[in-house]
Amino acid sequence: MNEQVLLGLADDELVLGWRESEWTGIAPLLEEDVAFSSIAQNEIGHARAVYELIVGEDGDADALAFDRKLDEYRCSPLVELHLLEWAHTIARRWLYEVADEIRITALKDDPDTAVAGLAAKIDREEAYHRMHAEMWHDRLGDEPRFQAAVEDLWPYAVGMLPEGLRADLAVRTGLDLPSNNLLQGHERGTHTPELAPLWDEMTIVRRSAPTGAQW
């Protein structure tokens, strides 16, 4: 089991779920609000399942999720961005799902059966997320502000995947791979300045009691 790859997956789902949960209660339509919140919850559920796999039966998934130093997180810059605006939110949702499908498909063939099994389970739920993302992509596709958002976020989406999987992403999205210097600062392994305030907020209650306190 490649722990760094798994942590990358779990941290992506955690941080994206955290970002997207911020829409709960303020999405553009009440119906979509409910749907979007479920997706955020699912992503966090996936993160938890992967953390549990990493820490094992007696481990503490919460501690792994919350109590690391910033530079120990393996999430990609794409999911860190604070995008409380619908065109960018949906552009990220769509790009993320396309890239995530490629990554999950690869993990389904992992020699570690526990990893392959979990990837298959996650994939079944992601299928619904992909439907939702495609539906929105089709609906907003002609909107200039949506097209601009896709363009903004495209280098980040590429930076989410290892080099070997990027060509597939370009084919599936119909977009051209950016040059290497355009990818700088957008690839996994670096963090944006937006991660630190997010982590501060997501751990503010947790840090207010001594380590190990129950909540």
Partner: protein, 302 residues
Amino acid sequence: MAAVEIPRDEQAFLEYVQSGGQVETTDWMPEDYRKKLIKFIEMHGNSELMGVLPEREWILRAPTLQRKLALTAKVQDEVGHAQLIYRVVEDLGKPREQCLADLVDGKAKFHNVFHYPTQSWGDVGVIAWLVDAAAIISQKALLKCSYAPYARIMKKICWEESFHILHGRDVILAMVTGTPAQFELVQEALDRWWGPLMQFHGNPIPADEDPMFLWRIKSQGNEEARQQFLDGYVPQIHELGLTVPDPKLHKRDDGVWEYTEPDWDELKHVVTGHGPKTEERLAFRRRFLEQEQWVRDVVLAA
């Protein structure tokens, strides 16, 4: 069997609903009844929607993955309730966009408790446990509402609220059995919320003088609801070692709870748009309503 005829006369209609008769969307109804329904149900929808905001801030600060999921799901339920409730209002003749516009323009009301700040994770627990408990008492009484479409959605709403109370109580239990500082957070939150909670069911006007009761939109009086709340929850508060900040609070031998008169002026002041967080929260709603208008235009374009 032949359909029950809804009387097309205001007095006979009144007697019909008072004897337990129910009304559907397409039935004839007196204008006054329709207006009262819209006013009452719209305020309920507004309250669900505004009730999202005090808790939503804490979605981002939930201290464990489990709490994160449960709190997000709770807030999500409230949005879902708003959607269901506004649909009922829409079918009565007032479009959702008009409800939302009136809300952010300060022309419509919402429940007093959603005008107050949430200061700590203790507040999150107290809201989910006790505010939702107070709300479910009102909502259960609406299961018998004379307007059937509203009564029907209340089944789903009450079912979901029961999860909230469980979640809230669980949050509280974790804290009262935690560190002394965590216990203190709960007690402080209870102290802050007790006043608004006691005002929640409204002033004790006799049910017969309450037009919402007259038309059987509500099926119980305000004081009856408050007594039910005290009866159900004061013992639960006490058993955790928490103190209710009202020295006069006690249950008489005849089973009636006595308490310090709630501050009705504060209630009136708050629900007419002068609560500590009213303006900020309406501005926040307005901001997103305006910012995302283009999405509704694109999605709902014919």
